[in-house]
């Protein structure tokens, strides 16, 4: 298998994972017996997991210079963590 095919397969898997997480977010209220607050926290978590996957694999920050990757990982942590904390404690 050539390197190009490997890259294409990897991108396809990334898409499949992103679509699966979207389906999980959509079906979570029916699938997961959680309180409304816990369910909301789960949805925020799933959203930022998807964001991280896009940044690392589609935007290729995962294989970029470490400071660049760290800056975007920090954004995910601050934006996602902040959103989650505000949702849980306001």
């Amino acid at each position: 298998m050539t390197m190009t095919n490997l890259n294409h397969n990897k991108l396809l898997w990334v898409l499949v994972i992103l679509l699966s997480l979207t389906a999980l977010s959509w079906a979570a209220p029916q699938l997961v017996p959680l309180s409304s607050k816990a369910l909301g926290a789960l949805l925020i978590l799933l959203a930022f997991i998807k964001v991280r996957i896009i940044i690392l694999h589609f935007m290729e920050a995962g294989s970029a210079h470490p400071p660049l990757r760290r800056a975007f990982e920090a954004w995910v942590a601050i934006a996602g963590g902040g959103t989650l904390l505000l949702y849980l404690y306001l």
Binding site: L12, L15, S25, F58, M59, E60, H65, P66, T83, Y87
Partner: protein, 218 residues
């Protein structure tokens, strides 16, 4: 736009200490080489980070106001067309895949793959706008607009600002499709191709969060 191609940046970390050199019978320092690069241009990444940080503030403002007007937000979210929101999420995620494939096509000097995938990305972006127009049309015909209540103020403001980003991204992708028609051109414009696609991925990831906050979160 930049007319020169960008060569990969390479970093070399030399891991050699007196102790490790002393243990090495040949006396040659062990050198660990790692190769990493910056897709597109560094300035664009800084812009993307700044834009994403502004959107992070939007997310926080939305959550803050949701806590102030819980009933209004609950009713507002219930009145949205969730299926159209889901459809737009699937469309944008797919468009990001096609955009990433276009970059791989360009790197491999595969003009057909590059152009086909850019066309698919543009088609997805246009589809997103069409679905959004249908959704806005539903709201307007029901008499709902940006001044209807707090929820709809944020709904129209945030999805509207995001839509402006989609239009900008589509314009850049269309320019690229119309301008880069030969293998030599895509080789020369690699940094611009990567930059445009990076911007498109940002549009995608911002929608992923907006979809969860505006449509799903209760």
């Amino acid at each position: 736009m930049n007319t020169t191609s960008k060569s990969p940046c390479t970093t070399t970390d030399i891991e050699a200490t007196p102790a490790s050199l002393g243990q090495n019978p040949t006396g040659v320092a062990q050198i660990k080489t790692t190769s990493a690069r910056i897709p597109g241009e560094l300035g664009l990444w800084i812009f993307l980070l700044a834009d994403m940080s502004i959107f992070a503030l939007y997310f926080w403002v939305f959550i803050w106001n949701q806590s102030l007007h819980p009933e209004q937000f609950l009713q507002g979210q219930a009145s949205l067309n969730h299926s159209l929101g889901l459809l737009n999420t699937v469309i944008l995620l797919s468009s990001s895949y096609f955009a990433a494939m276009a970059v791989h096509g360009a790197r491999g000097q595969n003009l057909d793959s590059f152009r086909r995938n850019i066309q698919l990305t543009i088609a997805c972006g246009a589809g997103f706008l069409l679905v959004k127009a249908i959704e806005y049309g539903e709201k307007f015909s029901a008499g709902l607009h940006i001044a209807s209540n707090e929820f709809y103020s944020y709904y129209f403001a945030f999805t509207g600002i995001h839509m402006v980003h989609v239009v900008i991204g589509l314009s850049l992708l269309t320019y690229m499709l119309l301008s880069f028609r030969t293998e030599a051109q895509i080789r020369q414009q690699m940094a611009n191709i990567e930059g445009t696609v990076l911007y498109w991925h940002m549009v995608d990831l911002l929608w992923v969060v907006l979809f969860s906050l505006i449509y799903l979160l209760q």
